[in-house]
């Protein structure tokens, strides 16, 4: 399943691809329904109060020459009780579904079919499919129509997982494990990004959820477990050698090889991903070249350094990374 498949699934581009108002799963939908209910009630309150206010302002505007002190009514019990009770009732109307949803949207203690450990890093997402033995980054592949349990934590500062069309935020706190769940009703790509300020790369810390059919998911898992290890082309072979020599391997892991770095995202299956650098660029050879030439220029604050590679080194490494499928 290559990038073309993913792109094809996205369908017509949405006007607001990251909108909480276009829910595509049960969690976001519950939240959206509550947003709608509260918005309607609150708009009603706004209109009623503003109308009363505007009417009063116009009706009792002083006319020139009439400055006599006005009627000095300064109390009215019935009225005061009324405008205490009415808001109270409206609040109860909103409180009931709020409390119900608060519990309903909390994931159960025992994880369901797929569970993913999401670990926040400055400024990328590590995604460990614990029970499947697969690790990837920044693109969360899930089978659509199923509940996916997430357990979230951070390796450094606080981040927050937010894919508006699937679910509201859950914070990633260092030293703590939070839980959440998502489900996508339809296949497709759901955009999100980090929602808790986490440093210079915060604005560029995107997460994409790629929802596929069960079959495609199984194939993806299989591919991740048994990746092609030795590349076909000579250029990519040279890239593989360089990967160990120039130090990429001190930070990156590629399954099936002797590259076991831990500081950066795992690159197994990288050639299949649609984006690089936490969703900042699409995954094309040209973009990869730009990325390898100077990562901090693309992602301010990125912990991947500029390794001062030569043009030919970059070409070889690009070919290698592209070959990881």
């Amino acid at each position: 399943m290559g990038p073309s498949v993913i792109a094809g699934m996205a369908g017509a581009p949405l006007r607001y691809p990251q909108s909480a108002l276009a829910p595509a799963g049960p969690v976001a939908r519950s939240e959206f329904q509550l947003i709608q209910l509260s918005l309607v009630i609150m708009l009603g309150v706004f209109v009623a109060v503003t109308a009363a206010f505007a009417y009063t302002a116009v009706r009792y505007r002083s006319r020139p020459g009439n400055l006599a002190p006005a009627s000095a009514v300064d109390e009215n019990r019935r009225l005061e009780i009324g405008w205490t009770l009415v808001p109270l009732i409206l609040l109860v109307v909103m409180a009931v579904p709020t409390v119900k949803d608060s519990y309903a949207l909390t994931p159960p203690d025992t994880p369901r079919v797929v569970d993913v450990r999401v670990i926040g890093h400055q400024f990328w997402w590590e995604l460990q499919y614990t029970r499947l033995g697969v690790t990837t980054a920044n693109e969360l592949v899930i089978p659509y129509g199923r509940k996916i349990d997430l357990s979230l934590t951070s390796a450094d500062v606080i981040h927050s997982f937010w894919v508006p069309r699937l679910a509201g935020k859950t914070d990633l706190n260092p030293g703590q494990l939070n839980t959440a769940w998502i489900q996508a009703d339809r296949p497709g790509v759901y955009e999100g990004q980090c929602a808790e300020y986490c440093g210079l790369g915060h604005a560029n810390m995107h997460i994409r959820v790629v929802a596929v059919t069960d079959r495609e998911f199984a194939r993806w898992v299989d591919g991740m477990r048994h990746p092609r290890v030795t590349p076909a082309s000579a250029l990519a072979k040279r890239g593989m050698a360089l990967f160990g020599q120039v130090g990429c391997s001190s930070c990156h892991t590629v399954a099936g090889t002797r590259f076991h770095g831990q500081l950066g995202p795992e690159l197994t299956g990288m050639g299949n991903r649609a984006t690089i650098a936490a969703g900042t660029l699409t995954n094309t050879p040209a973009h990869l070249r730009r990325w390898l030439a100077n990562p901090p220029a693309i992602l301010p604050g990125s912990t991947m350094p500029d390794l001062h590679l030569t043009g030919s080194q970059i070409s070889a490494l690009t070919a290698y990374v592209e070959s990881l499928r």
Binding site: M42, A72, M94, D156, A203, P300
Partner: protein
């Protein structure tokens, strides 16, 4: 000869500067607060302007990510701690003692110390721009991104110590005003006769006294972590990062009511005056302020719904947060009922006070929406919250501040501001503000997080962000008109006389500006709206003018003590123990002087004009 004249002139200037440096008069301290905080408001506004300029289009490169995070941090910190809160303290200083018929606050020296500490904090924070970089972890400065491991530069130290120094000054203000209101009211000014602005000052003081200590503790923890290597927030060593959030918001939520309750007080005064009616539902207004203040201490976790505290904790905070809407609604309805049946005079002050009502309702209703935890998982940390907080803080507090400025300017300076410019000021600010911030609700719902220096063109947000920035252009014009109006009024504003608005409360019963001793004869109060009643009562009881009024003498010690803290803070930031010791030594010397000096005070005899 010319030289002698020149020397005399500089001597006079020096004398004037010295008199401001040593003043303990609440009215002059009020002016110091107002001038300083107005300036810092312009600084914070400039930072906001740059923020919006950066966001005018997607993938913009006006400022870097590093600069952007300093801008939003300094904007929020400046606006909350150094601009809006001190503006309110300035108005409280300027008029609260007058409103209760007192000659000064309870502790005039402490009052001066509060101001100088505020100034020291402000100078410290803003000097960070030139001394290694401004703080960059947001105004709530979450750990661990604010700890040494992730933020080694001096910026966060500036935040920590600047907010600490200014905050302790504010804490002393709270104590001072609380005692003043409880102990120094004139004869007949019972609690339930106090103007609403005095009531909100009283309750705000209580909020300050209870809310600031958790912040103080938090800032000390962070300081120890950064300077001494403790591990309050250091996770690998057993620290806890949610601790910072808990302590910060137990302060932070009451803090937003510290910013909004005085605004409620201002609106109550202005709306009653210009409706020419007593405030509707006085008792329920007082009750509502008290209930809001109490609730404000048990809602803090609504700032932390996505933190993972679990559905039971979240539910508790949902319910308490929603409950605040009830007393708040009561206040809104009471203001409308005050206008009902009145003779509404559309002065600039009244226009601002009136536009407060609908805009505050927007902020209040979006506030109720964010209190609904599951929905808030979407609102949280998005531009929806940026819109909400500005509807409350600009649409609420700042509108009230503008109203207060037009309303009390004549009392403070003796001159009237131009109503014609005032109208321009009002319309530009109102239109600009709504164009800038209404779209941000949707920008947030469409998926834009706050604190991002850039966004992609693919999100569909380009037009709305551009519109929001255009709104800020209009808003900026409105604020510039305000500046013009103030300058113009100070130069050649019409003389105001003691009571330009046919006022209801005691500050209008004395000269504008009020003499140093406030009242030649202390007023006697017979009911609410004391001055209004007095003007209409037929019996004129004149008691003898006080011939010998005892006032505290001016002193440079408070300024010296604040200077000591400023020096010590620089010492701590640049890790120099001798400098810390020297600074703290100066402050301790000041404390010693304050404890053991005997102040003989000065005796003043009122002039005839003051006695009028």
């Amino acid at each position: 000869m010319a030289m002698a004249l020149g020397r005399a002139a500089t001597a006079a200037v020096r004398l004037r500067a010295w008199s401001w440096l040593t003043t303990v008069d609440h009215k002059r301290i009020g002016i110091l607060y107002l001038v300083t905080s107005a300036f810092l408001f312009l600084v914070g506004g400039f930072e906001a302007f740059l923020i919006r300029l950066q966001l005018i289009r997607p993938d913009n490169h006006l400022v870097s990510s590093a600069m952007y995070s300093q801008l939003f941090t300094m904007h929020g910190t400046t606006m909350i701690f150094l601009a809006v809160m001190p503006i309110l303290v300035g108005f409280m200083n300027a008029v609260m003692p007058l409103m209760i018929g007192a000659r000064d606050v309870a502790f005039p020296r402490l009052n001066a110390l509060s101001y100088w500490m505020y100034l020291a904090g402000a100078l410290l924070l803003n000097s960070s721009w030139f001394l290694g970089g401004a703080p960059n972890a947001g105004w709530f400065n979450y750990a661990p991104i604010s700890t040494g491991a992730y933020n080694p530069g001096p910026g966060i130290d500036f935040y920590d110590l600047g907010v600490q120094i200014a905050g302790i000054g504010t804490l002393m203000t709270g104590i001072n005003f609380l005692v003043t209101i409880l102990a120094m009211r004139t004869e007949g000014m019972s609690l339930m006769r106090m103007p609403l602005f005095v009531w909100t000052t009283l309750i705000t003081s209580l909020l300050i006294i209870f809310a600031f200590p958790p912040l103080t503790a938090n800032l000390f923890f962070l300081m120890f972590d950064r300077l001494a290597g403790t591990a309050f927030f250091n996770v690998p060593h057993g620290g806890d990062v949610v601790l910072w959030e808990q302590l910060f918001w137990t302060f932070g939520h009451p803090e937003v009511y510290i910013l909004v309750l005085p605004a409620f007080g201002i609106i109550s005064e202005v709306v009653a005056t210009f409706s020419r009616k007593p405030l509707f539902g006085y008792a329920s207004m007082v009750w509502a302020v008290e209930v809001i203040a109490f609730l404000s201490f048990i809602v803090w976790s609504h700032h932390m719904f996505p933190v993972g505290l679990g559905p039971t904790v979240n539910t508790m905070f949902v319910l308490t947060s929603m409950a605040i809407a009830v007393p708040t609604g009561i206040k809104i309805f009471n203001w409308i009922a005050t206008m009902w049946g009145g003779r509404i005079q559309l002065t600039t002050a009244m226009l601002f006070a009136m536009s407060f009502i609908p805009t505050f309702v927007v902020g209040g209703t979006s506030g109720v929406m964010t209190a609904l935890a599951p929905a808030d998982m979407q609102f949280h940390d998005s531009y929806f919250v940026v819109a909400h907080l500005h509807y409350v803080l600009i649409g609420g507090t700042l509108m009230a501040v503008f109203a207060a400025a037009y309303y009390w300017f004549p009392k403070i300076t003796g001159r009237l501001m131009s109503e014609r410019l005032g109208r321009w000021n009002f319309w530009l600010v109102t239109v600009g503000f709504n164009v800038a911030f209404l779209p941000q609700h949707f920008i947030g719902l469409w998926g834009m997080p706050r604190r991002v220096y850039t966004y992609g063109p693919g999100l569909g947000l380009s037009f709305w962000n551009a519109l929001s920035t255009v709104g800020v252009f209009i808003l900026t014009l409105g604020i510039l008109v305000m500046v013009m109006n103030v300058v113009h009024a100070l130069r050649r504003g019409e003389a105001a006389g003691p009571d330009p608005w046919d006022g209801r409360t005691l500050e209008w019963s004395t000269a504008s500006p009020a003499p140093p001793y406030n009242f030649a004869r202390l007023p006697r109060v017979r009911g609410r709206d004391a001055f209004w009643e007095q003007k209409r009562s037929t019996e004129r009881e004149l008691w003898p003018v006080d011939r010998h009024i005892h006032l505290p003498s001016p002193t440079p010690v408070p300024a010296l003590m604040a200077l000591g803290l400023l020096v010590a803070a620089y010492g701590a930031i640049f890790r120099s123990i001798p400098v810390v010791a020297a600074g703290l030594g100066l402050t301790v010397y000041g404390i010693h002087r304050s404890m053991f000096d005997v102040d003989p005070g000065v005796i003043v005899t009122p002039t005839e004009e003051g006695a009028a």
